[in-house]
Amino acid sequence: MSASDDIWILGISMTKFGKHLDKDVVDLGAEAIKGALADAGVSMRDVGVLAAGNLMGRGGIGQQLQKQIGQTGIPVYNVANACATGATALRTAIMAVKAGEVDMGLAVGVEKLAGAGLLGGHDRAPDDAEWKPRGRFGAVGPVDGRIGTETMPGVFAQIGMEYGHKYGGTSFELFAKISEKNHSHSTLNPLAAYSKAMSLEQIMGDVMIAYPNTRPMCSANCDGAAAAVVVNGAKLKTLSLEQQRRAVKVTASVLTTDPWQEACQVLPDVNTLTRNAARQAYEQAGVGPKDLDLVELHDCFATAELVHYDNLMLCEEGGAVDFFESGASWRTGSTPVNVSGGLQSKGHPISATGIANIWEVAQHVRGECGDRQIEGAKIGLAHVIGLGSACGVHILEKSAA
């Protein structure tokens, strides 16, 4: 690989996650972009392409942002890939740089989600006066609640329970302990939406949403944004030594969808595409799971975190329960997972998540993560899943300079 094929994060930023009552999506996205540009030491004038993601807004977020922070006429790609939207935006900017069309790209993901409530389900309309088959299943009425569940807590509860059926060892308490870890980790993260430790008793005794997921075991709907500036190696060489020193190498950037598997259209299969993405990413980066100093993975629910230990090959196949029980995924363990607090406490402003997890890893490998710094972190992995499905995996490495 020549220097110009290398991809580097030159600057990256995330806003505080939480309730931003006085800011709209453009305010939040602009804050993240200005933060990333300042971190990179560049301006909108230097940026050749913008990829932007926002799912709940009115569309065209990239152009809305340009109108506030700088209209330079560059191409904008507005992208959408469910909860993997942020990673998709970053991947889009990286592809443009890799293709050689530009030497610097910008990606942003932003969401206003505080108070959004339950995702995936829809208020059930009254049944029609006459039963009439509609849609691809010829259903005479809404099926949510009548033939399974369409809400996210229920779908991901089944994904965790399915793992338990296949390999054994899971329980309500085990899943709650995973949540206890992430809430504990969040106490060190000032940008988290919730940064309070919760005891196992509090977590298990909280409101049940979809067994075995209680409320604190579900990702926190909140507002937030994250943005990143990427450059190729040739461009980086023209920049200051300080910029080169702080740049973080993107040694793998992968996006996958789910290949057909029996049952994947009945219960979403979040396993195969994650495993495929991880395999490709390790190969691209030339590293293995044992080389990782930290992992930010998509714990949209406590039940999801467990299966991704296995999918990302942090443990042997079928060994996720033992891996967790060993303490490996605590910040003091051998493979710290979600030291940011994860989606359960840091929060999950959907389009921002796939860049915010990369920000977390980048700050650690730069050695700039303050109180929650994983000492000596050199290599980290960020994973995100958008149901439907899309999976983004990025591996970052400390600059050699």
Partner: protein, 134 residues
Amino acid sequence: MPTPTQIPFVDYLVLDDGDPHLVAHECTSCGARFFDRRNACASCFADDFKTVPIATEGELRSFTIVAFAAPGVDVPFVAGVVDCDGTTVRGNVVNCPPDPEHVTLGMKVRLTTFSTGTDERGVDAVNFGFEPAG
């Protein structure tokens, strides 16, 4: 043509051909099975399908007990995934208390049907679920 007295809640539930059972579209090339209307096979891209009956007994491969749902959806209910002799089916677990003492991974279940109500014409929409078997 007289108005039927009942209608299946979804078109892959068959009520008028022997015991109630589900059917799937099976790809004639690769054998992949689907419950929805198809444009082509997601596994091998062929576009010829035949209708096949699905076993009415199976094993509960996963479940959740939904306690909090969208407005208008009755809770609690048990949503599950059932392995019906190699074909995976989504459905609720019914005729069983909705708690983890009574609903367990791997439990044997069988298809059952029940009324979801009648419309203005008096037509009964019949849905399916899975109940504990044995």
